[in-house]
């Protein structure tokens, strides 16, 4: 079975031989690889990074494959392109490595839940010839090939020097794998090449993955952060954003304090007026200078009276408060706000219009 799948991996022949034993595996491969192919459009940069190719080169390889046939050709292209890349740039270490790779494929094919992550890791391991990812899976079916993988990878690790690029790709594939793995009940953890597999470093690595995932969320939230790479710069941007928001709050509260001689007076009038003219006039008024001169009390009193006259919709509501024309003392206005459930819905309606 293993030599068959090894030849399948190389995929140099245009027509794919499908022995009966590996039919099921190849079907699973196809599904998984098609899923793989749909991943790049979403996060093309990470996928190409996993392949350790610059994006253009990856696209060239993908497109220039001589074997082009329908949907089945896609996975074939991926395999052939990756294997051709391997053939072109790196030397095959030994037959042992090939068999190990094939064994890994069979391991992953037999796994019940096929994630995207196990498939992404074979692809970079193809291209970078770093064949040492040990997956600590609880599945018993994979225990034997898994243990054989472990011993072989340990030998390889002792033999080879660590490539920095390989480490990065391992990190990135681990990122993705752990991000996907967080959804599962158990966590897949991979030991990086030459790194310890004791619980401390594993826990540290899990923690780092969590932090990176949340940093990505933050990056999406803060404008202009998605292009920046590197934690320190992203944190810089976040800090700037938070500081600017806080300063804006300060300025706005100053502005509000300046506009209103009294805190509670203008809110009724503000929400009584119609939404339309407010929206239009919002834009010029926002451009206007921050500090307004303080308005006299009489002006506000007029504000109070006017809106009530011309807003027919709200008259039944405001009618309840008509006894308190003159400036409503806080307790009374509080009661009126509290007692009327309509006011809450009214505000929410207006807010829906205006916000």
């Amino acid at each position: 079975m293993e030599p068959n799948s090894a030849s399948y991996v190389l995929g140099s022949c245009p027509t794919r031989p499908e022995p009966e034993e590996t039919v099921l595996e190849s079907l699973q491969f196809r599904d998984e690889i098609q899923r793989l192919m749909t991943v790049p459009p979403e996060n093309a940069s990470s996928f190409t990074a996993l392949l350790e190719l610059p994006a253009t080169q990856a696209m060239q390889l993908l497109h220039s494959s001589p074997h082009s046939a329908g949907g089945g050709g896609d996975e074939h292209k991926a395999y052939s392109s990756s294997s051709s890349f391997t053939n072109g740039n790196l030397t095959f270490p030994s037959n042992k490595a090939l068999i190990e790779r094939a064994a890994k494929f069979s391991v992953y094919a037999a796994a019940a839940d096929a994630e995207i992550s196990p498939e992404t890791s074979p692809v970079p391991s193809n291209s970078s010839a770093n064949l040492d990812k040990v997956k600590t899976e609880p599945a018993e079916t994979d225990s034997n090939p898994g243990s054989s993988n472990k011993t072989q990878t340990q030998k390889l690790a002792k033999r080879k020097e660590r490539e920095k690029k390989g480490k990065e790709s391992a990190k990135k594939s681990k990122n993705q794998s752990c991000e996907d793995a967080e959804k599962l009940p158990y966590v897949h953890v991979r030991a990086r090449r030459g790194q310890a597999t004791d619980s401390h470093s594993l826990a540290e690595r899990a923690r780092r993955e969590k932090i990176n995932a949340r940093m990505k969320l933050l990056q999406e939230l803060v404008p202009g952060c998605s292009k920046i790479s590197g934690t320190a710069l992203v944190l810089d941007e976040i800090i700037n954003h938070v500081q600017s928001l806080q300063r804006q709050v300060e300025l706005l509260s100053m502005r509000l304090a300046a506009v209103n001689p009294r805190i509670d007076c203008n809110f009724d009038s503000v929400f009584a007026t119609e939404g339309g003219p407010l929206i239009d006039s919002n834009i010029p008024s926002m451009v206007s200078p921050l500090l307004w001169p303080e308005n006299p009390f009489t002006g506000n009193r007029q504000n109070f009276q006017q809106p009530w006259n011309f807003d027919a919709l709200q008259q039944p509501l405001w009618g309840r408060e008509e006894e308190n024309h003159t400036f409503i003392t806080p307790e009374n206005s509080l009661l009126s706000y509290d007692s009327s459930a309509n006011s809450a819905s009214l505000h929410s309606n207006q807010l829906k219009m205006e916000l």
Binding site: A196, L218, I263, P330, L355
Partner: protein
């Protein structure tokens, strides 16, 4: 994350409520700074109460507000009936438990490191090591700054700090939008009246 416009509505309701309960009647001096403080405070408390004590920064805000005498009354009024439970939660949780957690983590680390034999790592070249340490120091510096910005951030570890920052940014944005709207609306109304 919660729907932003519903968040804003809730925030606005509570904010107006708070401002009115603020006790700004003619007897108090209407200096601009006091008004600004009152506005900001009621806004902060309104937003914090919308989180219902689920996030650390909101609890820290409430705790800070409950500490001064002036703001304590306002905090009680704005928070309303759930104020008792919230105050209990906010007063005890952030400083005590988080510092306890940090201290216990340190003790655990120390005990583990003294007994566990360090697995030999492949030595990195010197440049890489120093670059790593420099990068770590930079990140550490910025994390400290962020901790000082987010209320209640000093007691949090990195992971929860980032989550809190996410929430806090969403809150600040909502607050800015609502305040800007109200400010411009009142200015327009005043303009129309003149």
């Amino acid at each position: 994350m919660r729907h932003p416009s519903s968040l804003k509505q809730e925030f606005l309701k509570k904010w107006i409520l708070g401002l009115q309960r603020c006790g700004f009647s003619s007897k108090k001096s209407t200096s601009i700074m006091e008004r600004k403080k009152a506005i900001k405070l009621s806004a902060d408390l309104a937003m914090a109460s919308t989180r219902n004590g689920r996030t650390c920064w909101s609890r820290a805000l409430i705790a800070n507000a409950s500490r001064d005498h002036e703001s304590k009354i306002l905090a009680e009024q704005i928070l309303g009936p759930e104020s008792q439970s919230l105050k209990k939660a906010s007063s005890t949780v952030p400083p005590v438990i988080c510092s306890r957690r940090i201290r216990s983590k340190k003790i655990l680390k120390r005990s583990c490191s003294s007994h566990v034999r360090r697995v030999r790592k492949i030595a990195l070249p010197q440049k890489v090591l120093s670059a790593n340490s420099v990068a770590k120091r930079l990140v550490q510096k910025r994390t400290n700054i962020l901790k000082s910005l987010v209320p209640g951030g000093e007691y949090m570890d990195d992971i929860s700090l980032i989550e809190e920052t996410l929430d806090y940014i969403a809150y600040l944005r909502a607050q800015v939008d609502v305040m800007r709207f109200v400010a411009s609306a009142t200015e327009v109304v005043n303009q129309n009246s003149d």
